[in-house]
């Protein structure tokens, strides 16, 4: 076993464990510890961490969970994630959570927050209404007030009121996490044969359920190992994956795309972990700093309002240029309103710039990958041999 495979195996175990063994392990290490769950896409983990709680990303059961009870809560034309989360909760797998946060990703997740309050009255449940007015006077002031309320409430839930210093320390920890994630993405972008997306993705998933300090340790060990055990460069095309920010694709789909000859050099998987494009300052009021960084430096995604009508049309060209990519694969979950409503605009913008694109839909429990293999394989060939036409 190599250092690299040790880390990947650890991450894979975290990924497969629908009973959240690592979270239970952390909770049992010390009495009185508590955990707060959050749904995709963005939740201020610094606030949760500052209150002594473990932030736990809840992404459903993927392709490992049969949905029985969850289907009773949603119509057939709703995406898979919420029914899968309900299934996890109804089976008792999320009983360890003391709080649950529902960011305003879409109306389905908003409605789930209401259901949660009825289903689990003993849990602290909060709908996080992310501000769409991107100015400090309105959106900034609103978000700052929301964060202060959340900080106070979670302090009461955990029994540990966060001080200003606690929050600054947590901001510092998550700054390191974000730097490490960006470094992993940089290496993957520059030398994708060193960091297969499958492995990077597993690390990102592990980061959603383990303490940030553990992720920093494992992520740094991985980064060191990839340089010690360089993989083989292949003649693949380079693609950006867009639209997979909420309900996550099955691991098999990510593997299929890369096996078919496409290096994924940028993506929006689990984008909440790097939504803030700038460091949160730790001088001054940390709550205000957190709110202000969100308002000023949140990356452009489908979950946030874009006031400039032309903004999203140029987004793909910017991302493709930044990643040195050859094309875009629009991969969105079936029935995902934010991703699918943005897709025509993003795609039109990309194609207007001559960027080759393909598009498909998936579910977190998609089990057949042949059609994706065929699409990605022919896309890669078209890019390599015909410039994408």
């Amino acid at each position: 076993m190599s250092a690299r495979s040790d880390v990947v195996d650890w991450a894979l175990e975290c990924y497969h464990d629908l009973d959240f063994g690592v979270v239970h392990g952390w909770l049992e290490e010390e009495s009185g510890r508590t955990a707060a769950g959050y749904l995709p896409v963005y939740a201020p983990r610094e606030i949760i961490h500052a209150c002594g709680m473990l932030p736990v990303g809840i992404y459903g059961g993927g392709d490992q969970l049969e949905i029985i009870r969850g289907d009773a809560f949603y119509q057939s034309y709703i995406c898979h994630l919420p029914r899968s989360v309900v299934e996890l909760a109804q089976s008792g797998r999320l009983d360890f959570l003391s709080a649950m946060l529902f960011p305003s990703t879409c109306d389905v997740i908003r409605n789930l927050s209401g259901m949660w309050q009825l289903l689990f009255p003993e849990q602290y449940v909060r709908y996080l209404d992310l501000p769409h007015q991107r100015n400090t006077e309105l959106g900034g002031a609103f978000w700052e007030r929301e964060l202060r309320t959340l900080l106070k409430d979670l302090g009461e839930v955990s029994g540990r009121t966060a001080t200003e210093e606690d929050l600054k320390r947590s901001i510092g920890v998550y700054r390191e996490v974000r730097h490490l994630i960006l470094e992993l993405y940089r290496v993957r972008r520059e030398e994708p044969w060193l960091v297969p997306t499958e492995e990077l993705y597993l690390l990102m998933r592990a980061a959603e359920v383990v303490p940030p300090e553990t992720f920093l340790e494992q992520g740094r060990a991985y980064l060191e190992a990839v340089h010690a055990e360089p993989g083989r460069r292949r003649d693949n095309s380079r693609v950006v994956i867009v639209g997979a920010f909420c309900e996550q694709p099955p691991l098999g789909l990510i593997k299929t795309i890369e096996r078919a000859g496409c290096y994924i050099v940028d993506d929006d998987f689990l984008v909440g972990n790097r939504l803030l494009e700038q460091d949160v300052p730790t001088d001054g009021d940390p709550v205000r700093a957190l709110a202000d960084t969100f308002i000023r430096h949140a990356s452009k995604t489908s979950i946030l309002y874009e006031p400039d009508p032309a903004g999203k049309r140029h987004l793909m060209a910017e991302r493709v240029a930044a990643a040195g990519a050859d094309g875009v694969i629009f991969a969105a979950p079936s029935f995902c309103d934010p991703a699918l409503l943005d897709r025509p605009m993003l795609r039109a913008g990309a194609e207007a710039e001559g960027i080759p694109c393909i598009a498909f839909k998936y579910s977190e429990n998609s089990g057949q990958f042949q059609q994706f293999r065929e699409q990605a394989g022919t896309f890669s060939d078209a890019i390599k041999l015909w410039g994408g036409t």
Binding site: D235, T378, K384, L385, W386
Partner: protein, 291 residues
Amino acid sequence: MTITAGIDVGSGAVKAVVISADGEDHRILSSTASRIRRRDIRSVVEEVFTTAAAGAEIETIDYVATTGEGEDVPFATGHFYGMTTHARGGLFLEPEARAVLDVGALHSRAVLMNEQGKVLSYKMTSQCASGSGQFLENIARYLGVSQAEIGELSLAADDPEKVSSICAVLAETDVINMVSRGISTENILRGIHESMALRFARLLRSIGASGAVLVTGGLASDAGLLAAIQDALDEDDRVAGTLRVAGHPLSIFAGAIGAAIWGAFRYEKTDLGGAAWKATTPTTQASSSAT
């Protein structure tokens, strides 16, 4: 001059070629194929590649290209999708061809291409195995004939017996009934060929093929099947006289040849950091030379 290898990992056999490329001048230096049977695919790939490399008597290979199920071949430089490689390989073997019919062990597909080998359209057989080489191989085994004999026996048929073209299970039952009824092996095989040919004719029609069609894949050397396909096309009023079915002694290598040619194209276009394989380098260590 660029030296490249193409490895086509099929579901029934692995095929490899080594070619030299000088601009648009491509020459096959060696070719090797081996049935997988129940062996570990990785060892079959290594064996076939090593044999092809040795047969080519070259020192280095600049680009190792895989196709088919060969995505995970560890020493490959790049992978190309099966349709892309069969189209290019088909064009190399039959420059007049504007369509290929790839008949493999598990699937069959018709591919329409232009004069540069660019895929314009394609259609595959559905999941049912009765349009595949594996089905024909099973039937041959029941009848006690070798694969090499199938074509000649089929051509000698005088009263072909109709076989179900819908389902492999039903077709196998048909064959058992025919044997018990005393139908000759020649007529059974021709009946199966005709049944498969009807499917292939539909595929070719659906992609709008015209002119020469090269049959590639594992059944490309089956003269009985080629004759049955030509007959099926000639008897179809919609395409009669517009399609000429062609074969080639190296048709089974079309995918590997196409991969090798595209590999040469990519090698000349892209800086991949040197040779992919050297004569003294075992395939398992070939990776170090290209990183």
